[in-house]
């Protein structure tokens, strides 16, 4: 059970990235990374599979990683995470950026000579259009991640290569929010008329990335050809082929049969374990900002009662969950508090132990029996009778979702709740979940990024996209905004801790474990670094084949 080894200088680095310009920093970071023993070879076709078909190509409108994976080699973002150091940003379309002294104005200087795949040059108008489309999409276009730019007050383009973003309040994490791997830059000339029709960029890809979409056949193949006019120089690979293969075991078989070179999404540990024994194959698992929470619907009785929610938390043996569900869902990791494993903002053991049930996290030596006795007392006090029926909504066609729920239901039985799993198909599941028609739901929530604003903003605010439990808590939201705009790192750290303590006390969401993504690739694939956040390093520009 590897623990993440992120440097503790995390916060400092981030602040540096914010206060100084980014270019110099990025140069030093990449110098070390490039000093490799082998020189990359040119040519070849990389064959990968990440799961099923993307529903469409509109990365800004989508909510699934499948679309982002298809878009990543073709699009660019303003900045991107440095593959050598996850806590730093390096330039992508923006070669430099400045933040004003009050922290409320950010100026991006765009790189010169960037062209879209159709040959037209990138200008600040394209950036403004794309960011506005995220923040405030035109009619008929949706923007699931508009919260990322929720703090933006206005975006202007004073020059063809300058973009100025005014913020409502200072936001230390803003540069990371705007560089979210989903926040790709579209060509205004291409996207605007399509957006007006309501279709958006669903049917085509027109970006500035190192590859451009070639042949694409739904259910069969997505092919990317090298774009030779990429501003960063042509990629090493001639071509990338992505095959939509849904089942993990089938993807494992394809890797083993040498039909693909890499596959990046394996929840199930047995498949990886099997691949690890294959000669010439690397199989790894890394903790990623994806957490598994049990979420009660607080509008429904008796879950409106915090005692009942605390009882749920007390009932759960997190260590046992990680041991049993871990190998099935890749949920091997744990964290103290709401932020990912290894975060500088993690709570101490003493702090987390004051919340019911969290002392069963691995290594904290909690007393499960005492917890469960206490849970029964709380239920009794809340007027919940022995054998009370509760149901866990689960999605049937994703084994990892289903297995989490099975384990939780079994554990809840120990405090006298008659818990059953209500398995639905994808269509019913998502509709019931988003409209709050459930009692309990438990599944993994994947977030692109590990910073407090990213995790807390999307996962733990009333207005965030993942508030399935329908709770409303203004004091928490205010606390979130306060930490978000605090420029002093020490003070901000205090606020982040305060937020976590306040949130944990409400038991609106009950954390069980953190997920690590599994990836496996043939050793002939070089130049790919497994970042903690899989979304961030998928443009494959530096990847090459040693064949």
């Amino acid at each position: 059970m590897a623990k993440s080894s992120r440097p503790t200088a995390f916060a400092v680095n981030r602040r540096e990235a914010l206060m100084l310009g980014g270019a110099a920093l990025a140069a030093t970071a990449s110098a070390g990374r490039m000093a490799r023993a082998q020189t990359p070879k040119r040519g070849g076709t990389l064959r990968v599979s990440n799961g099923g078909d993307p529903p469409d190509y509109d990365v800004l409108q989508t909510a699934t990683y499948l679309t982002q994976f298809v878009g990543a080699p073709c699009y660019s973002t303003l900045m991107r995470v440095d593959p050598a150091d996850y806590s730093r940003l390096q330039p992508d379309l923006a070669e430099r950026w400045e933040v004003s002294a009050d922290g409320k104005t950010v100026t991006f200087h765009l790189r010169d000579g960037v062209v879209f795949h159709n040959g037209s040059p990138l200008t600040s108008a394209d950036v403004v259009y794309s960011l506005e489309r995220i923040r405030n999409p035109p009619r008929g276009i949706v923007s699931p991640r508009r919260g990322l730019l929720g703090n933006v007050d206005g975006i202007e383009a004073p020059g063809p290569r300058t973009v100025v973003v005014r913020l409502k309040a200072p936001q230390p994490d803003f540069l990371f929010m705007v560089s979210n791997p989903f926040n790709v830059i579209y060509s205004k000339a291409v996207a605007e008329p399509l957006d007006a029709q309501g279709t958006g960029m669903k049917r085509q890809i027109m970006g500035t990335g190192p590859f451009r979409l070639g042949r694409a056949v739904n259910g069969q193949i997505y092919e990317f050809e090298r774009f030779d006019r990429y501003y960063g120089g042509p990629a090493h690979l001639d071509k990338i082929q992505m095959f939509p293969i849904r089942g993990e075991i089938e993807r494992g078989a394809a890797l083993q049969g040498r039909r693909i070179d890499a596959s990046f999404f394996f929840a199930n540990e047995s498949v990886l374990q099997n691949l690890r024994q294959v000669q010439g194959m690397t199989a790894l698992r890394r903790p990623t900002p994806t957490f598994i929470n049990l979420i009660p619907q607080v509008e429904k009785k008796p879950f409106d009662d915090v005692r009942v929610r605390e009882a749920l938390s007390l009932a759960l043996d997190r260590d046992a969950f990680i041991k049993t569900v871990g190998p099935l869902a890749g949920a091997f990791f744990h964290s103290m508090g709401l932020l990912p494993p290894g975060s500088p903002h993690s709570l101490s053991a003493e702090e987390i132990k004051q919340f019911g049930g969290y002392d069963t996290l691995p290594g904290l030596g909690g007393n499960l029996e005492a917890n469960r006795r206490r849970a029964r007392e709380l239920l009794r006090a809340a007027g919940v009778p022995e054998g009370f029926k509760v149901s866990l909504l689960a999605r049937g066609d994703i084994p990892a979702f289903r297995d989490s729920s099975i384990n939780i239901a079994a554990q809840l039985k120990n405090i006298g709740l008659d818990a059953t799993v209500d398995v639905r198909d994808a269509g019913a599941f998502y509709t019931l979940e988003t409209t709050g028609q459930f009692e309990l739901v438990a599944h993994s929530v994947a977030i692109a990024g590990s910073l407090p604003d990213q995790i807390l903003g999307e996962g733990y605010t009333s207005f965030g996209g993942r508030n399935y439990g329908k709770w409303r808590d203004d004091s928490l939201d205010t606390l979130y905004r306060q930490q978000s705009s605090e420029l002093d790192p020490a003070k901000r750290g205090q606020l982040i801790k305060q937020f976590q303590l306040a949130f944990l006390k409400t038991y609106y969401q009950i954390n069980l474990a953190w997920v690590g993504y599994g990836a496996a690739h043939s050793n002939t694939m070089k130049g790919w670094t497994a970042l903690p956040d899989l979304y961030a390093n998928m443009n494959l520009h530096q990847v090459w084949l040693d064949a």
Binding site: N274, G396, P399, A428
Partner: protein
């Protein structure tokens, strides 16, 4: 089993109805008769034996299963078959043998339930509309045709999604595709019967329609319906497994054979093959047994049915 190839064929085959009931009542020397039948139909006897064993498992699951099928032992995950866990344990540390035994209950209930429900409803529709004829018959026929044309597993999948997950809903969902097939067979039997002097005589003696249907028509359609019921029993078990595979079938923590070999379990096929192999064998054996028994029943009741229910 598929529908009989052509309604025309079945009409010809049942032209001389065998009185099924006369074969069934117990007579002296029952045991020796049974043995003789078993010798005549060794495969059928084997099928009956396997089904009997499965039925014993299903009924006696609470007493026979060595462990609780839903309660896992967290200290014994992925344990290969050994002296304590004869068929090993699964990813949750649950005993495979106990889950197989409890799974027999689910599979047999689904198989029996779906085939009986489908055949009874289908036969009722077929017999009544076939006997009365007229516009009701025409409408019923078109509806049955539409159900027949609807892909079978898709129909079950959609029904399961509409009704929500539970054992009884899976039974209803799997009975749906059986209804039109049973109705078709029952109807064609009735059409032939209607034309025979035997029914006309009953009518002439002043029997009511209901009485004719119950006393004369129903017993004479019994043989083909029993044959297809055994065939659909097996098919329903296989289809239930397919529904489980698609995530729309029986729900955990209930044990079902299909569930045991789908979902995350499939990923274990290489590292812990016992988790996937044994439930598959259980399904094969049971379905095989029900088909063999069906064949034997068919041959004993009326060998002429062979042509239509091979």
């Amino acid at each position: 089993m598929s529908a009989p190839p052509a309604a025309a064929g079945s009409a010809a085959a049942i032209a001389e109805p065998a009185d099924a009931t006369t074969l069934l009542p117990p007579r002296p020397g029952r045991l020796s008769r049974l043995l003789r039948m078993a010798r005549q139909q060794p495969l059928g006897a084997m099928g009956a034996l396997v089904l009997l064993v499965m039925a014993v498992f299903a009924v006696g699951a609470p007493y026979l299963a060595p462990f609780d099928p839903a309660e896992g032992d967290p200290t014994a995950l992925y344990v290969p078959p050994n002296a304590k866990y004869w068929l090993g344990t699964d990813a949750f540390g649950r005993d495979t043998l106990s889950r197989l035994i409890w799974g027999a209950r689910v599979s047999l209930m689904v198989g029996l339930g779906a085939s009986l429900l489908g055949v009874v409803i289908g036969a009722a529709i077929g017999i009544v509309t076939g006997y009365h004829g007229g516009w009701a018959d025409t409408v019923a026929q078109r509806v049955m045709d539409a159900l027949l044309a609807f892909p079978m597993l898709l129909l079950a999948l959609a029904m399961a999604a509409v009704l929500g997950p539970s054992l009884q809903n899976v039974i209803i969902a799997l009975a749906m595709p059986i209804i039109p097939r049973a109705a078709r067979i029952a109807r064609s039997s009735v059409l032939v019967l209607k034309a025979t002097p035997f029914i006309e005589a009953a009518r002439a003696t002043g029997c009511s329609d209901a009485r004719i249907l119950l006393r004369h028509v129903l017993p004479n359609t019994f043989a083909p319906l029993l044959v297809i019921a055994t065939a659909y029993l097996g098919l329903a078990i296989v289809q239930e497994a397919a529904l489980d595979y698609l995530g729309a079938g029986i729900q955990e923590p209930q044990a079902s054979w299909g569930l045991m070999m789908s979902g995350a379990a499939t990923a274990l096929a290489l590292t812990a093959p016992w988790i996937v192999i044994f439930p598959g064998i259980a399904i094969c054996l049971t379905v095989l047994a029900s088909n063999l028994l069906g064949d034997a029943i068919r041959d004993l009741l009326d060998p002429k049915l062979r042509r239509d229910y091979p």
